[in-house]
């Protein structure tokens, strides 16, 4: 007995020692790596004509946009290889590559979702190349600038907008006695009233929601320019009036029986493709999925997003959207010039982007182009793209901070309790405490 005990003890000691040695090694490596990186940067900066690689997701949307940009780019020395990766995969690869400290295998250009951008920029300060000199940030929608910059330096070139709208079925709303004007510039409280009316008169649910996806809360909250965190990154859940009001609206929606629940993306699409729900409050990118059901052509229109019933709230919000970043490695100048020459300044390119890819950029001058004036038959000849580009400029700016998704994981568990009757003050206070413990 005693013998086995001593044996185990020694084993444990060896294991501990190994851990300590390993930890010490990795600590030492960090220092040396910084030196190595800067060497690489100096020796090869300004290397034009080198092969540029870009990582992005979705062949029909982001990658399509990159390919289009390449067609519009007038530089014969410029070669770019576009590599398709799922968004989660890009996050994983970037995190591994950047935290290992070697910039080996990293791309020149990478697409990052706006809500994740700050965590990359802040965690890996030297890994990204500031590209503010290659385009004019003031040409872009204001709300895009905070998430894509850090310490006054512009790192990201804003790409697509997630400007939201209230897509609705004209036939259902008419049946319930509502016109387009009744839906313009309304509050969420008014929206819920209309929802109940629609449900009563037509039998259709007003919208479809996934209880695990709090996107709708973010959309509501951003109409007032607030977020889970403030500009300094301090978590502000408790005493966050807009969030409180958004939660109350959310509960009111759930309780009034106007929501058709879904559990995943395909069911969400199914809800409006099959004609079950009367409205879809979502980012403009959902238009493509709505238009996929051709038999419903002419039955849809878009109104501005409802706002929270507070002073200073705008009838404009955002859901999703990403931007291009350049990594601080060989070829960074060429990559930045390419982005600046296409996404950063080319109005014609943005016209093709709308017609061919269906992507609305955040470059403000583009909205005067012809393609933006297109009257979409599917949406009752509404100038959908133009209207979205106008709403886009009104989106209140928020700082997404580093932990949007982390906080939301905590919040979504609390929300279930809120729906079951827990008081709103307790829900907010508990979320605040948990979030502070986890992210400080």
């Amino acid at each position: 007995m005693r013998e086995t005990f001593t044996k185990k003890f020694w084993l444990l000691m060896i294991a501990l020692l190994t851990t300590v040695v390993l930890a010490a090694c990795s600590g030492g490596d960090d220092d040396s790596s910084e030196g190595g990186e800067s060497d690489e940067g100096e020796s090869t900066s300004g290397d034009e004509g080198a092969e540029i690689t870009a990582w992005a997701w979705d062949p029909n949307f982001n990658i399509g946009a990159l390919e289009l940009a390449l067609e519009h780019y007038d530089n014969e020395d410029f070669n770019m290889e576009i590599i398709e990766n799922a968004q989660d995969d890009i996050v994983q690869k970037l995190n591994t590559g950047l935290s290992s400290g070697t910039m080996q295998g990293m791309p020149n250009i990478v697409l990052i979702e706006d809500q994740r951008a700050q965590s990359f920029l802040q965690s890996y300060p030297d890994a990204f190349y500031p590209i503010g000199d290659y385009f004019n940030p003031d040409d872009f929608a204001e709300y895009k600038l905070a998430p894509t910059s850090l310490d006054g330096k512009q790192y990201g070139l804003p790409f697509d907008t997630g400007v939201t709208g209230l897509f609705y079925r004209t036939d259902y709303l008419e049946e319930a006695g509502y016109t387009h004007e009744d839906l313009v510039d309304i509050t969420w409280t008014k929206y819920i009233e209309i929802a109940k009316d629609v449900k009563e008169k037509t039998g259709h649910a007003m919208l479809s929601l996934d209880p695990n996806d709090l996107g709708i809360l973010r959309v509501m909250m951003q109409t007032t320019g607030t977020w889970y965190t403030d500009e300094e990154g301090t978590i502000q859940i408790e005493g966050n009036e807009p969030l409180k009001m958004a939660l109350e609206n959310y509960k009111a929606l759930m309780d009034s029986g106007v929501v058709k629940l879904n559990s995943d993306w395909s069911q969400y699409l199914e809800a409006f493709n099959s004609g079950d729900v009367a409205t879809v409050p979502a980012g403009n990118w959902i238009a493509a999925s709505i238009e996929a059901e051709e038999s419903q052509s002419g039955l849809w229109k878009v109104a501005p997003t409802p706002r929270l019933d507070m002073e200073g709230a705008a009838n404009a919000s955002n859901q999703g959207g990403s931007s291009w970043y350049v990594l601080n490695i060989d070829g960074k100048e060429a990559a930045a010039e390419f982005l600046g020459g296409t996404f950063g300044s080319n109005v014609d390119f943005y016209q093709d982007l709308v017609t061919e890819i269906g992507a609305i950029g955040t470059y403000k001058p583009a909205s005067e182009g012809d393609a933006y004036q297109f009257e979409n038959e599917f949406f009752n000849n509404q100038q959908v793209v133009y209207e979205f580009s106008q709403w886009m400029e009104e989106i209140p700016q928020v700082d997404y901070g580093m932990n949007t998704y982390g906080i939301e994981d905590i919040l979504s568990a609390e929300i279930q309790q809120y729906l079951d009757g827990k008081s709103i003050e307790d829900v907010l206070a508990d979320t605040q405490t948990q979030a502070e413990n986890q992210f400080k």
Binding site: E84, A86, D89, T96, S99, S100, T102, Q104
Partner: protein
């Protein structure tokens, strides 16, 4: 009473069977349907198999991905078995004071999750990329090298070697065989079932390996099957019919390997438990 018990058992087993088989059935049916039908939950085989197949070939380089996965899996399996069995054999047959301590440390290494060593490993491969580009980042070799030496297989072979008659080693020595000769001419042929079981596990692990190849392989030509499937599902409007077809194709090789060696697999696993 006995009859009642029997009915209950059958009921339970049938439910369990349906629950585990249904996803496969759904996968097989879905690969013949349009994406819209898949999301609508259609359970009847459709007529879109050929169209899905054409789309799959058009959108992806699935042939290349299968080839990459196959190259990696075959080499991994071969090297894992060779190294694992040599080490397991050595641990069991040769006498040494420290061998149990070393072995225990080895077993301890199984407790470290791969995610914890991934970043140092990436760094390592990043640094050798300049000096040895053949095994650096973005090569198939980099995708399998870290996986060929695993404590699990050394443990597995050591346990099974306990059943191997030590007298055979003595006999071999007396007849003048070299130590390696004993291993390759006596041990290897008698332990066939163990090798078969290990081969299946190693092949499946490698075939389904996702995280490390994802991180280390960058160019599209090096993509393996799990990465390709992940990409297919990543768009804003995924085509579920095509995805299901790709998954079926990805499942086939492991199924074939398993059925070919099933008999040995069971025997081999039994052996490791008995030992």
């Amino acid at each position: 009473m006995k009859k009642f018990k029997r009915v209950f058992i059958y009921l339970f087993l049938s439910t369990a069977a349906i629950v585990s088989i249904f996803p496969f059935l759904w996968m097989l049916v879905s690969m013949t349907n349009k994406s819209v039908d898949v999301t609508a939950g259609r359970l009847i085989p459709g007529t879109h198999l050929i169209e899905n197949f054409r789309n799959l070939l058009e959108q992806t380089q699935i042939g290349l991905a299968i080839w990459n996965s196959l190259v990696i899996a075959v080499i991994t399996t071969f090297l894992t078995l060779l190294i694992g069995s040599l080490a397991g054999y050595g641990f069991e047959i040769y006498r040494s004071k420290m061998k149990d301590v070393v072995f225990n440390i080895l077993i301890l290494s199984m407790m470290i999750p791969f995610a914890a060593i991934m970043i140092p490993l990436y760094r390592l491969f990043g640094q050798i990329s300049n000096d040895a580009p053949l095994i650096g980042l973005d090569t198939l070799a980099a995708a399998f090298l870290p996986t060929i030496i695993t404590a699990f297989f050394i443990f597995f072979f050591r346990q099974n070697t306990k059943m191997f008659a030590r007298e055979l080693v003595e006999a071999g020595r007396i007849d003048g065989l070299s130590e390696l000769g004993i291993f390759f001419r006596i041990y290897l042929p008698t332990m066939k079932t163990t090798y078969a079981a290990a081969a299946i596990i190693a092949f499946m692990n490698s075939w389904n390996n996702y995280l490390w190849p994802l991180v280390v392989l960058q160019s599209p030509e090096k993509q393996t099957i799990p990465l390709l499937i992940s990409n297919l599902g990543a768009g804003y409007t995924p085509d579920y019919g095509v995805i299901m077809l790709a998954i079926v194709i990805a499942t086939l090789p492991t199924a074939i390997v398993f059925f070919l060696m099933q008999r040995h697999f069971v025997a081999g696993m039994m052996g490791s438990v008995k030992g």
